[in-house]
C-alpha cells in the first residue's frame, strides 16, 4: 500500500467550499444563541408575571430556606451517594452471575436456570417501594439474632435485589449479542466451555452493553433516594420531607432535586461521550 505525502494545497473551488461551510456554521451558532436567549426571556416573563407567582416563589424557592436547609440536605445526599457506591458493584456482580446461569446449557444447572428466571420475574415485577418496605421495615421487625437490624442495610439489599433483576437482562442480551462463531473459534482452540465464556464471550458481551449499563447507573443514582420512605434513614429526600413538615414550605424538595440533578449530570455526560466514541469507531470503516 502506498500513501501520498507532502504539502497539499486545496484548489480555489475547495477553498471557496470551506469558506462557505465556515460562514454557514457561524450563522447557525448565532441563530442558536439568539433563540435560546429569546426563549428563556419569554419563559421567565411568563412565570414571573403569573398571578400566583409571589406565593409560589415563597413556597418553592424561598431564599431563606435555601440558606438554612441546603447544608443539611447535602449531608443527606452523602448517604445516597454512599448507598449508590455500595449498591452498584453488588448489582453488577450479581447480575453477571445470574445472566451467566440463565444462558448456560449444562443440564446440571437446570434448576438454577429456573430459579434465575423466577428471580427476574419476581423482583423485576415487584414495585421497588413495596420491596423497600418489606425488606427495610419487615426484616428488622423480626428482631433476628446475629443479623443486623439496620434499615439502611436492608434498604440497600432491596435496591440491589430489584436493580440486579433489570441489569441481569441487560447482561443476558449482551451475552447473546456475541456471535456464536466466536464461541466456535474458542472451542476449536481447545478452550473449555467455561474458559470460552470467561475469556472470549464475556469481555465482548460487557463491552456491547456498556451504554445500557450506564443508563441504568444514572437511573440508580436517583432511585437510591427511594430509601427515604424508610423513616430511619436520613438521606436527602428524607431530610427534605422533615424540613417540609416543620413549616409546609416545599423549597427543601427543590433543593434535593437540584442536588440529585447535579449528581447525575456527570454520568449522563459520560454516557453520551462513550456512545459517541463507540459510534465514531464503528463508522471508521471497521470490518469485524
Amino acid at each position: 500500500m502506498s500513501t501520498m505525502t507532502g504539502e497539499f494545497s486545496p484548489s480555489d473551488k475547495e477553498a471557496w467550499r470551506r469558506g462557505y461551510r465556515r460562514e454557514r456554521k457561524r450563522k447557525s451558532t448565532l441563530v442558536a444563541i439568539l433563540s435560546t436567549v429569546g426563549f428563556s426571556v419569554v419563559l421567565w416573563l411568563a412565570v414571573t408575571h403569573s398571578p400566583g407567582w409571589k406565593t409560589a416563589q415563597e413556597t418553592f424557592l424561598s431564599g431563606h430556606e435555601f440558606r438554612s436547609d441546603t447544608g443539611d440536605i447535602f449531608r443527606g445526599l452523602l448517604i445516597d451517594l454512599k448507598l449508590l457506591l455500595i449498591c452498584e458493584p453488588c448489582i453488577l456482580a450479581l447480575a453477571l452471575i445470574i445472566a451467566v446461569m440463565r444462558t448456560s446449557v449444562s443440564p446440571v444447572l437446570a434448576p438454577l436456570r429456573i430459579g434465575c428466571a423466577l428471580y427476574v420475574d419476581i423482583f423485576r415485577g415487584c414495585p421497588m417501594i413495596i420491596l423497600l418496605y418489606l425488606s427495610a421495615e419487615g426484616i428488622p421487625s423480626l428482631r433476628l439474632h446475629h443479623v443486623t437490624n439496620s434499615a439502611l442495610v436492608w434498604g440497600a439489599v432491596a435496591i440491589i435485589v430489584s436493580y440486579s433483576a433489570y441489569v441481569t437482562e441487560v447482561m443476558r442480551s449482551g451475552i447473546q449479542s456475541v456471535h456464536p462463531s466466536q464461541r466456535a473459534a474458542a472451542r476449536s482452540l481447545g478452550l473449555t466451555q467455561r474458559q470460552s465464556l470467561r475469556l472470549v464471550v464475556l469481555p465482548q458481551a460487557v463491552r456491547n452493553v456498556i451504554p445500557a449499563l450506564l443508563n441504568d447507573f444514572v437511573a440508580l443514582q436517583k432511585d437510591v433516594g427511594l430509601i427515604s420512605i424508610v423513616g430511619a434513614v436520613a438521606d436527602a429526600i428524607n431530610r427534605a420531607t422533615t424540613d417540609n413538615d416543620t413549616n409546609f414550605n416545599f423549597t427543601p424538595f427543590v433543593i434535593a432535586a437540584i442536588l440529585f440533578i447535579l449528581l447525575a449530570a456527570p454520568s449522563g455526560r459520560f454516557a453520551d461521550a462513550y456512545a459517541r466514541r463507540a459510534l465514531s469507531r464503528q463508522q471508521a470503516g471497521v470490518v469485524v
Binding site: A184, A185, S188, G190, L191, T192, Q195, Q204, R207, V288
Partner: protein, 246 residues
C-alpha cells in the same frame, strides 16, 4: 505405509429432514493435503464441522490417529487441541491484539506462563510474516493479515491436522495470494491439511488428492490431474465448467 492421520468412514449428518452428508468416506495421510471441492450446500463445511466436533454426526465414524473421536465418551476439548481450524470469516477475537489471539491457546490450553505464551505467539506471528503486527487489533488489519493471524492461531496447539474452511472466500482477490502461499508453505513443512476451497489453480498445484462432494457424498476423488483435468462424473464436469469459465 503409516496409518492415516484422519479417516472418515460412512459419515452421515442430518438436520431434521435435511440430509446434508450421506455416507462420506475419505482418508488424509500424514503430510498430505486433501482438498474438498463442490457447490454450496454440497456438505464441505458440515464435514469439517463434524471432524472438529462442532457438530455431532448422525451416523458413521471419524478416526483421528487411530482414536475414534465420534465416541461420545471422548474428551472433546482434548480432541480439538489436536486439530487446528481456520474459518472463512476469520473469527478472530476482536477484543484481543494479534499477539493475544495467538497466545491465548498456549497460555490457557497449554498452561504456559504469560511470558512463554507470548514468546510462542511471537514465533507463530513471525512464521506467518506478521511479526511487526503483534500489537494490532484485528479491525486495524487487512483481511489477508487477519486470515494469516487466524492461521497462526490455529497452529498454536501444534495440531496434527489443519482444517481450512474456504479461508480465502471472504478476501479481496489481491489478498488471496498471500494466504494461499502461506498454506503452500505449511504443506511443504509437513503439515497435514484438509481444506475446502474454490481456488482450483491452488488445488491443482498443492493437493495430493481432490474429493468432489455432491449431495453429501464423495462423487469422485483422485489426484488433481485426474479429477480436474479428466473428470468423469457428469456433475463434476458441470461444476468445473461453471467454476473455470471465468
Amino acid at each position: 505405509m503409516t496409518a492415516p492421520v484422519l479417516e472418515v468412514r460412512n459419515v452421515h449428518k442430518h438436520y431434521g429432514d435435511a440430509r446434508i452428508l450421506n455416507g462420506i468416506d475419505l482418508e488424509v495421510g500424514d503430510g498430505q493435503a486433501v482438498v474438498l471441492i463442490g457447490g454450496s450446500g454440497s456438505g464441505k463445511s458440515t464435514l469439517l464441522r463434524c471432524i472438529n466436533l462442532l457438530e455431532v454426526v448422525t451416523d458413521g465414524e471419524i478416526v483421528l490417529e487411530g482414536d475414534e473421536i465420534t465416541d461420545p465418551r471422548v474428551n472433546v476439548d482434548a480432541v480439538r487441541r489436536r486439530i487446528g481450524v481456520v474459518f472463512q470469516a476469520f473469527n478472530l477475537f476482536p477484543h484481543m491484539t494479534a499477539l493475544q489471539n495467538v497466545a491465548l491457546a498456549p497460555r490457557v490450553v497449554g498452561k504456559r506462563s504469560k511470558a512463554e505464551a507470548e514468546e510462542r505467539g511471537r514465533e507463530l506471528l513471525a512464521r506467518v510474516g506478521l511479526a511487526e503486527h503483534a500489537d494490532s487489533y484485528p479491525d486495524r488489519m487487512s483481511g489477508g493479515q487477519q486470515q494469516r493471524t487466524a492461521i497462526a492461531r490455529a497452529l498454536a496447539n501444534e495440531p496434527r491436522l489443519l482444517l481450512l474452511d474456504e479461508v480465502t472466500s471472504a478476501l479481496d482477490p489481491e489478498l488471496v495470494g498471500e494466504v494461499l502461499d502461506l498454506i503452500g508453505e505449511l504443506k511443504d513443512q509437513g503439515m497435514t491439511i484438509l481444506m475446502a476451497t474454490h481456488e482450483m489453480g491452488f488445488a491443482h498445484r498443492v493437493a495430493n488428492e481432490i474429493c468432489f462432494l455432491d449431495a453429501g457424498m464423495v462423487a469422485e476423488s483422485g489426484p488433481p490431474e485426474q479429477v480436474l483435468d479428466e473428470p468423469t462424473h457428469p456433475r463434476l464436469q458441470q461444476f468445473l465448467s461453471r467454476v473455470l469459465r471465468h
